[in-house]
Symmetry: T
Subunit: 149 residues, 12 copies
């Protein structure tokens, strides 16, 4: 499998801009900025140019996904709270043909019942959760594989 230069979009959902500053017991001390740097670095290693975007707005995330279809080869998304409530996000992902991988920092199956259901999962290519920052890195690896397939 020879690797071509790929463009990958990392999407961070609501409240992820708080990472590293609060609830470090659950989410760790790494900031979102640091995560993005790690992803860029990892991307370079596996031949992918990584861009990141965070928003607390469902509509903004929907639009970013819509536009990504033409500019990117794949998306890694941590939909955070919108995982469980957003059909709009689901429909946006369902409408783009590039591979989308869903990731979560925490193991959502160890948390409240309403976090066990994802509107995104059935339209994503796959789901990775529970590995902290590594969920993102594994997701990046996964989406690159899918984009190259």
């Amino acid at each position: 499998m020879k690797k071509k230069k790929l463009k990958i979009l990392i999407l961070h959902g609501p409240n992820l801009n708080l990472l590293g500053g609060r609830e470090t017991g659950i989410y760790g001390k790494t900031t979102l900025k640091e995560i993005d740097a790690l992803l860029k670095k990892k991307g370079k290693e596996i031949g992918a140019e990584v861009s990141s975007f965070q928003s607390n707005s469902e509509g903004a995330l929907v639009e970013k996904i819509q536009k990504a279809a033409k500019k990117f080869d794949g998306i890694v998304i941590n939909p955070a709270a919108y995982t469980h409530t957003s059909v709009a996000l689901r429909d946006a992902i369902g409408a783009v043909s590039i591979p989308v991988v869903e990731v979560h920092l925490s193991n959502i199956y160890q948390r409240e019942d309403f976090r066990h259901h994802s509107f995104v999962a059935p339209v994503a290519r796959g789901q990775i959760c529970g590995f902290g920052i590594n969920s993102y890195l594994l997701g990046l690896t996964a989406v690159v594989e899918l984009a190259m397939a």
Copy 2:
């Protein structure tokens, strides 16, 4: 029933801006722009001035509805994904006294279970679904009748 000059607002919910370009198997090849043109044309025939607005943002749609109460005589809304998740949209519609008609391109009762429930339906005057673009045209006819009543 003599017809007076009416102003009707057409509201398109999230991801409908993608119409015509993607998933044409489900939604057809007509673009949103073309739908709006057809609605304007139909409006003229039945004595209504038609304006259109699309947004991927729940809040933006809520505000458009709030303001429509004073400027328009009726609303045709395709709430798309927000049909199934937005109490805010429901409350906005419940708060305006002009008639609101809910339309859907596809037959939502043939799709996933979560699409069978509409938060909007109980506050809309009526619902029309499954007729593709014609759902909008029938909705426009319906709202004009209601606005003239």
Copy 3:
């Protein structure tokens, strides 16, 4: 879209023979006979010959649908109470290849919970509800469009 001469069957379910005489607060003062006349008139305007049939019997409605497949180009059905309880009606509609449009006078989503579910909706081409007599007229327009497609 040039219009050809079409034959459309209007089917009225149980208790609709009472229209106009009772519960006029909910269903209006128009009798079923008057509705049928309005439909015939509308049919003429849009190039369709309209026949009507009412029955309180599930089996009679099933048979009417079965036979309609060869004689008519489309069906507009208000299944009334059988909407919520009749799999037989659903199967009959599922077995005919002409387009079937489901209509309701009232907005069934504003009424008792058991009226929110329709066995017919997933096999109908589309559903129109909440517009009183106009539901029928819009349904006729819709089915004519579908039959001509």
Copy 4:
């Protein structure tokens, strides 16, 4: 308990900007502006400086809560429709350490079933509902007590 000078943020969710103008039967005739004035006045009496913010956008409310953590000593929030649908709001409140009090003008337990569940309640310190404008005033009193504790 000696009182210190506190800064309290009042957050109003979607459609609350319509207060006083519509549905006065349910929500009373007082406008949001008047409510904010009453809250400012009450705040002065109990030693709190009160700021208010209304938005119809889930994301905007989320961001206001995130930023409030550093500028305010407490939040009184009427999440309105987002009470029942927003995990993002819940997560934002769960991420701030200042006390948050949930208030509702109406008694949500006398309304539709879907309004009986609050995503916010388990992360708020307490909930006050059913007292009209007084829900806000009681909420302000409550959050001031909590902030001083």
Copy 5:
């Protein structure tokens, strides 16, 4: 309360024509004919002329109810199996203004779960069950009282 001459219709639902001949352990040995005779006799004592009708057809029962509105002062109905499945019967009863009393020979709350729910109960004036033939006689007494009120 002076008694006027009243006309009461007794409606027997599906399978009740078998009474007395089968499952006498549950339903007793009295035939439907004998029950009708007892009702006629009881009717005479309390000033009511009693007519009876049994059908295994939902539609036939619906039509009997529709027509009863003009000819009778009250209905005692044992909807039998249709109690649990017929919205059509419910709608027919809801459409007539004369009092309707629901009766059952057996105590339906001691039987299968699906027999605990009655579509008829919410539109009947009252329900009497569990007293065997006496359920009918008590129902006749009750409906006569209601008709005279």
Copy 6:
């Protein structure tokens, strides 16, 4: 069927002591005392000596039922609120061998969902509801028939 002198206990559940004084729109203007007098009078006519007891205490009702087994030939009980919550009442009724008839003034199937379920119904001989005071009188007639059988 020759009638013997029977002793019947009428049991009134919680809040029924308020009858006639409050919520007369729902429950009528007759007081509990007047109902008891009507029952005594009716009892005399059909050969039964009637005693009445009201309590707001679940335990007191349980004990009254336990003791009734030896002193009475039948019980007519309106368990009111305890209908829907008391397994203790159910067990007490299940433990006595004299016939017990459950009555309700209002049609419980027209009220809140939680009032549709009765813990008492499966252990009572039959249920009568919706006829106002007449529910009691019919219940008395029914229990006398059962006690004489």
Copy 7:
């Protein structure tokens, strides 16, 4: 097991009269008439005289079952749509003492959820589904065995 001459009734529920003409992908190309001929032939081989009856009316099927009790030694029924909705059919079957076998052409457990529940199954002696026409032939064999036992 020596075989005696038996009379078996085959009952076909709603829409089965359409067999062979429509939806041949699901139900095959054999007509109901051909199925009946195959059953008569098979009956002869195993010593049973076979009669068939199809109806789209629930009431007509109920009555056929009631009368069959005296004329036939067993029933093979394909209740089709009424499988899932008819308590009346269930009660009729429960009231006859001859063996009744439930058959389905398709495997109902591979279809919509509402088709997984049968009101008939608990009162039938057994159920056979999924074998196309062979379901009927196996059902005939089964009912003959039961009738001879």
Copy 8:
């Protein structure tokens, strides 16, 4: 709003007599006696004479509410465990016309699922929970406002 002298009843439900002595981690160290004293003091400040009553008996609480209607201008009730199980309490509150405010020391929405549902809430004027002793004080303030309205 001029204040008149009001009489307010404070009702404490089951196990609240244990306050201050046990589970101080959850409920704090203040005893019920001290809470009553704080309420009397607060009452004086806002022009209300406060009486308190605690009972572990559902029936006793029901009777206290019934009698309060004539002696008091408002009730603050912490129904404790009966919140979730007592229809009798609900009916008693529903029967009195003076305002009733429901309060809880803890945030019931952070506890077991069965504590999220209150039978009392829909008949109370409003609900206040999660503020410890302050829930009572805010409830007293609220009920005084309602009684004066």
Copy 9:
């Protein structure tokens, strides 16, 4: 494990005073008095002084538990009907620190569905059911072990 002199309270819930006299098929012929005697005797053998209390009143049982905390070293409770309905009993048990053991004469998992859920079980130390009188004796043994630990 050396044994010290322990005081154990046996609590019998509603309708258990009827034991031995009624429904002996289910509950056996031993009276409550005899059970208490057996428990006292068993207590002596294992070094425990046993006291018993039966009540049909939820409130009385709650109070007995509250007071037991200071006088007894452990409680064996058969909550009977209140097992399934009493949050008050649960809260009382949750508030005492001495060990509480829940026992049932019958195997509650072989009975009606509503008897499968116990509000008491999660706050009791353990549950023993199905062994008739022996459930009490085993429960006494168990609580003595716990009290000595």
Copy 10:
């Protein structure tokens, strides 16, 4: 349809090795050995060589199915208890391309609720239940037909 020599595997699930020795009231007195002999005999008559296998182990049954794909032309399986709990069995059946027929001795729809659901049914070709030993014989006939098709 000319018959070729077929090899059919009969699979018996857990506890079926006990047949004939226990619970003969439900399952009859025939032993599994005798059933296998009857199946072999029946097989000979219809041109099939029959092999049988019983196991109480889910894994052993899974492996037998996996291997059967290459050695047999069809499988008749009575999954017994694993019917209701084994996704592994379902997946094994779903993975083999030879026809699989599910049989049950008893009518599972007359038994406990959890026995009404079969994980196997949707992947089997058809289901036969309620005919005792004859279920196996009919199943053998059915699978032979399918294997020859």
Copy 11:
């Protein structure tokens, strides 16, 4: 009750072989070997010869139960994880006539929801849970009593 020499089988379900080595916080430090020794010792005291068997295999446990019927006078089983998932175990227990007692070390009603349901409980004679090792000892005492009865 004179005691005869009894043979009792102790069955330990999956993962119980790990006892004492892991999760000692929940399950204590006693190993399974030590528990078996305690049971043997206790058995001697009460006249029972105790054998033990542990397996992680559902099928192996099923077979052990089947064979126990002839060799043992009673079974004490801790089905562990299979409590909640094994119908096979339930059927095996239902098929043996010797008494079976279900025990659990922990209080399963204080753990995850899926552990609140036992497939075994309705076929066991009784259930004992929450007393740690003592659950086994009490279970042994209970089964000996049952075996001697």
Copy 12:
């Protein structure tokens, strides 16, 4: 993070031995043997010695997990069908302290409803699904990271 030599166990659940030979449309054409080879190769690259084990038996998998605790530094498990039914597997994983990662070839959230729930997920450290063979490779990477942490 310097890498030490780690031993990782790969566990394959039921029916995975069929991989590559059947249902290649869903699961691909790679055999389990080839997957294991890829994992060994990947392991070498990231400093881990990889062993593999497949079983169709729940008990065998449970025992492999129990023993792995002492021999391995981490487990990657694809529990296949047992994901959805095995509490025993869950308990085994919960009992070992080495990190366990759950993987699935397919996206289980796009399949039948019963496959959306995993008993394993809440006790695994994380879950990876939907990436085909890559799910295993990502899982190996993830568990190595966890084992080194």
